[in-house]
């Protein structure tokens, strides 16, 4: 079976985000980029699936040359092949999905993993969009994954619990924390990944339906009042919550 995993290259979650001079994108200076944290669960699940069912794994990333770093990480963890869909311009989620769907089709992958959300634009929709474009079944926010023959059973996280979801291949699964424990790349894996070729392709031009008009920092919250230094401040705190904030 051919298994694909789509990965994105994003600012580290600890990064300070500043707005670029164009006013519609971030200023990348001083920002370190990493594999999107949720994509590590997706990579791990792709590797586990290959170990169980055999086949071949491919990591696909859309973006500029910098994304190769994330693809190398996937290779170092054990993914067989890597494809960079080279386009560093702006794309909305659907436009990203269209490019990914084309490549997944070209690869003939029947089982596809995504992270449940990219921690840059936080859209949490690319997996579902891509599945629809491919006509594949899709389970999002999976915290467990079982494949038996053609049948897939996942648990997905919802408010106050989990849903057990059933479907069949071909399918897209988006990974949530809890799905697995991503492995560390071995030294051997890292060395081997350095030598592997990353295949570069140019995707079809973007057709964006979502235009970014402005990007801005949120109004910073004023630091509030320190009411006291021990339990004696509690009655005043509760009074403020009742009378000033009116929240209890």
């Amino acid at each position: 079976m051919k298994i694909a995993v789509c990965v994105s290259h994003v600012p580290d979650t600890a990064a300070k985000i500043n707005i670029g001079s164009d006013g519609i994108s971030i200023d990348p200076s001083g920002v370190t980029y990493v594999v999107n944290p949720y994509d590590e669960f997706a990579i791990e699940e792709a590797l586990k699936s290959k170990e169980k069912f055999g086949g071949e794994t491919v990591a696909i990333s859309l973006g500029g040359d910098a994304n190769k770093e994330t693809l190398r990480k996937a290779l170092a963890m054990g993914i067989d092949n890597a494809v960079l869909l080279k386009d560093s311009g702006y794309r909305d989620s659907l436009s990203v999905s269209k490019a990914l769907a084309e490549e997944i089709k070209a690869q003939g992958a029947e089982l596809v993993f995504f992270g449940k959300q990219s921690v840059d634009f936080d859209n949490s929709v690319v997996g579902q969009l891509t599945a629809e474009l491919l006509g594949y079944n899709c389970i999002s926010v999976a915290v467990s994954f079982v494949l038996d023959g053609n049948k897939i059973i996942c648990e997905r996280e919802i408010e106050g619990g989990k849903e057990v979801v059933e479907t069949n291949l071909p399918a897209v699964i988006t990974a949530q924390k809890g799905l697995n424990e991503p492995r560390y790349a071995s030294l051997k894996g890292i060395m081997a990944a350095k030598k592997k070729e990353i295949i570069e392709k140019i995707p079809a031009a973007a057709t964006n339906y979502v235009e970014v008009l402005t990007m801005k920092k949120p109004a910073s919250k004023q630091a509030g009042k320190i009411i006291g230094t021990d339990a004696s401040a509690v009655p005043e705190l509760i009074r403020l919550l009742r009378e000033e904030a009116k929240v209890i």
Binding site: D122, E132, E211, A223, I226, T229, D230
Partner: protein, 322 residues
């Protein structure tokens, strides 16, 4: 511009979820502004009080009904809604950014080939466009976006849009029985975390961090939650330590919340934690380190030992509630 607005009403267990009322109100208000109509659509089996969406200004609700649709089925829900949109010429769709909305809205959007703005925290209209504001980088920045496709899909962040005071109006209900829903992807079972309020749905949240010193002290967080009618949350440090389940984690790699009141006990306020809760209306922090970053965004702080302060808070609230 547009001529018809549709809002998706989410039900679980036959009960309408609150974010749907918020979305209904936004849809109805927009309809008034644009001098168009707003309708609602829902999918499920038995659903209680559907006419109630009328009290938020939506005049008509269509219910696609089948006993196999009690639980969510992404394939069936997406197909039914898409068909309904195409047959009736809706151009603007609203969802709530709930776990169902986040799953469903993109499917519908892909089928309709539209732009999608998810997790919107504000909507503004000018003469020709609807401008949606949404947080990115877990709230470290905001973007204003405009959807340029003829049809547009918006999902609204829960607990941000005020549904206002409901009127007595009732919506006209049309029930459409569905013969053979597409159950290619279907929920077969729901496992509820017993009796627990989820942080993503709570109006008040009390969260504990590493300052709680161990899982055995979380009864303080739970008791304070209980007297406040709040959900219990946690920082990643305590989830990673195995003290609390991941479902409680607030932050960039946990849940993004915007409750009316957020109480942080023994949480330092790392950037990834703040990212998930900074949009709370009121924030209370209890931390013994006066330089803890959480105090920079807290409305009210006590610089002190939570093992003294939290029990006193529980007592004081019990007193006023009795």
């Amino acid at each position: 511009m547009a001529n018809k607005i549709l809002v998706f009403i989410e039900q679980r267990n036959g009960l309408i979820k609150k974010p749907s009322f918020e979305a209904a109100k936004v849809a109805a208000d927009l309809a008034v502004k644009l001098s168009v109509t707003a309708e609602a659509v829902t999918v499920g089996n038995e659903i209680e009080g559907l006419e109630k969406v009328g009290s938020y200004g939506v005049t008509k609700v269509t219910h696609f009904k089948n006993s196999d649709l009690t639980n969510y089925s992404p394939s069936a829900y997406a197909e039914l809604i898409t068909k309904f949109v195409n047959e009736n010429g809706f151009d603007i769709l609203f969802f709530g950014t709930t776990s169902m909305g986040k799953d469903l809205a993109p499917r519908v959007s892909a089928k309709l080939d539209t732009g999608l703005a998810i997790d919107c925290i504000a909507l503004n209209t000018n003469s020709s466009d609807i401008i949606a504001t949404r947080p990115i980088f877990a709230g470290k920045a905001l973007v204003d976006v405009k959807i340029t496709s003829p049809k547009k899909v918006f999902a609204l962040r829960p607990n941000v849009f005020n549904p206002g005071v409901p009127s007595d109006a009732k919506a006209d209900l049309t029930v459409v029985n569905v013969d053979t829903p597409n159950l290619n992807v279907r929920v077969t079972e729901i496992k509820r975390a017993e009796g627990k309020l989820d942080v993503a749905e709570a109006d008040i949240i009390v969260s504990g961090g590493r300052g709680m010193k161990g899982p055995e002290h979380f009864h303080l967080v739970e008791e304070l939650s209980q007297v406040l009618g709040a959900a219990t949350g946690a920082s990643r440090a305590v989830v990673d330590a195995g003290w609390r389940p991941h479902g409680e984690q607030v932050g960039q790699t946990g849940k993004t919340v915007s409750p009316t009141l957020y109480v942080a006990l023994g949480i330092s306020g790392a950037i990834q934690h703040l990212a998930g809760m900074r949009s709370s209306k009121y924030i209370v922090a209890v931390n013994k380190d006066k330089d803890a970053p959480i105090f920079q965004i807290a409305d009210y702080g006590i610089v002190g030992d939570l093992f003294e302060v939290a029990p006193a808070m529980i007592e004081e609230i019990k007193k006023i509630k009795s």
